[in-house]
Amino acid sequence: MITSVAWRNIWRNPLRSGIIIAAITIGMFAGVFSATFLKGWMNQRLEVGVETETSHIQIHHPKYLENFDINQFIPNGVELSKRIASQHTINGVSPRITIQSMIASAETGTGVKIMGIVPEKEKSVTNLSQFISEGDYFEGVSRNPIVIGKKLAEKLKIKLRSKVVITLQDSQGNITGGAFRVCGIFDTTNSMFEETNVFVRFSDLARLSQMPDGAVHEVIVHLNDQQFLEKTTNNLQTKYDQLEVLNWKELTPELGYLNEIGNLYTYIFVIIILLALGFGIINTMLMVVMERVKEIGMLMAIGMGKIRIFLMLMLETTLLTLTGGAIGILLGLGASKALEEHGINLSNYAQGLEDFGYSSIIFPVIEPEMVIVIIILVILTGIIASIYPARKALKYNPAEAIRTE
């Protein structure tokens, strides 16, 4: 009956309870919606980072990443990539030659990382081919095709079928160069990636850079599932201990932290909202306790112990908080679900967002674990907010409380 009394007590003053419930509803709606928004935003960045840019695992010569020296290659990299591909946790392996070079158009030039890839194999490790906005992915140009980013095309003031000149230092230390024709332009959500990476055929770059036959700078590995990441990384590192095997978390630590930072921001945001609401709830419950001095005195007199009175007020506060919290959480989840398919269009800020590698259309993601944590935080807020008013109620002397007018 204590629960029933606590619940009915909430509705003794519908206006006052309604106001605090509305405040909690709005607060929790904002908290849940921003949590799913942030989660979606971070997930998208993570997906682009892993699926388009780094893939899951990269294997290099141990010194290659120190200064990207063209001669720090894996001598039998092509063969290695074939061997690795047979592992059951791996769904794609692609060898790459990557060289820091200069790219020049008729108008201007800039430094880029040129990647020699096997287009068909590359499709199994990154989804870059899906981001071709103009032209085709290594089709339509028979000799020295090159795929460049939209941002770089704008910078070099070139378009599809334009000719560019790549200048690099070959494996012998000679400055060499070659003319390439743009066969495709990719458009991702990362301006920096678009501006600093270009893709050519593996064979074209191997010839131009005079790399030894079968030598590669990178072996890119894509897994069947993210859950195999640590295990496969360790297995490959153990098996090829003379090489450096790094997964995307080690290659781009900022992406690795993104998820944790996103969750942390969400929790901090929700806790701040709940903290502010908590003071409102305390204030409401203090009013409740002060209005019911006589009733609390009577309850004490007829034999309701301090623990039961404390529990009753705690239940009342928690139910009040949970009512607003539940409505707010459901509204937040509903709004997130409604926007899950079409996303939230922030194209007005697209330029700024893409400069940092973020998409301008955000698709909210509902993570059950986060919702559970938020629900627990709401319940905790109710419990914590009830302590002060309930303690105040327990200090009443029943004889005096009953006589209060």
Partner: protein
């Protein structure tokens, strides 16, 4: 059988530097089945005496024994439990729980006692019938008149099968008809079920009905009159 024994009871309040003896050396015994009124002018110590008798307030000195239990020897939690099981309260302003129906208000104490649902429902209906509120069990206090609310309060006070009922100015907020009605019900319960009632009152109508009238002045008993003792 003696159910209440009070000896050398003193309650002193300290107001600034002045000590006020609200109850000053009261010795009193109450037998089972008494229908007793404690009267006296305002400030005479009636309510203070009743509060100490109900275990709501602690005496400065002296002893209260209820059915051989010394209230002063009980810990706070034991005292709450003792009150719940042994003492019924009726207050001047009814003090019902406004969100509960008449039936639920009566049941509440029994639920605190951990009685079974069947027992609770049977006793509640029996008590509400005894106080003339059969048919109004589902009404909330706001839908009942003052007299009806006070009758629910009497039923609630009896729900826990207490050793005695303390009624502090129970008729102060009632009109003549309601007062008469309430007093008749309590007198009937006293006669039939030997329930001990102790009133503090200013109301002459209550005094007229009481079988024993104890008059307090300045915290001391100045008279103790047995009018119509029907119990030995």
């Amino acid at each position: 059988m003696t159910i209440i024994e009070i000896s050398k009871l003193v309650k002193t309040y300290k107001d600034s530097e002045i000590q006020v003896h609200a109850v000053n050396g009261v010795d009193l015994t109450i037998e089972e089945g008494e229908f007793t009124a404690i009267v006296g002018p305002s400030g005479s110590g009636k309510t203070t005496l009743l509060n100490m008798l109900g275990g709501l307030d602690q005496p400065t000195s002296g002893h209260i024994r209820i059915d051989q239990t010394d209230l002063g020897a009980l810990k706070a939690s034991q005292l709450i439990d003792f009150r719940m099981r042994n003492i019924g309260f009726v207050f001047q302003s009814y003090n019902l729980i406004p969100v509960l129906t008449a039936k639920e208000n009566v049941e509440f104490v029994m639920q605190l006692q951990g009685r079974s649902k069947k027992e609770r429902e049977e006793r509640t209906m029996q008590l509400l019938e005894a106080v003339g509120l059969k048919g109004r069990e589902d009404s909330r206090p706001a839908k009942l008149s003052g007299g009806q609310q006070q009758r629910v309060a009497v039923a609630r006070a009896l729900a826990s099968k207490p050793k005695f009922v303390l009624a502090d100015e129970p008729t102060a907020n009632l009109d003549s008809k309601s007062t008469e009605n309430l007093l008749n019900i309590m007198e009937e319960l006293n006669k039939k079920e030997k329930i001990t009632f102790i009133f503090s009152t200013h109301d002459q109508r209550v005094v007229n009905k009481a079988h024993r009238v104890i008059t307090l002045e300045d915290g001391q008993i100045i008279s103790d009159i047995q009018k119509n003792p029907h119990h030995d």
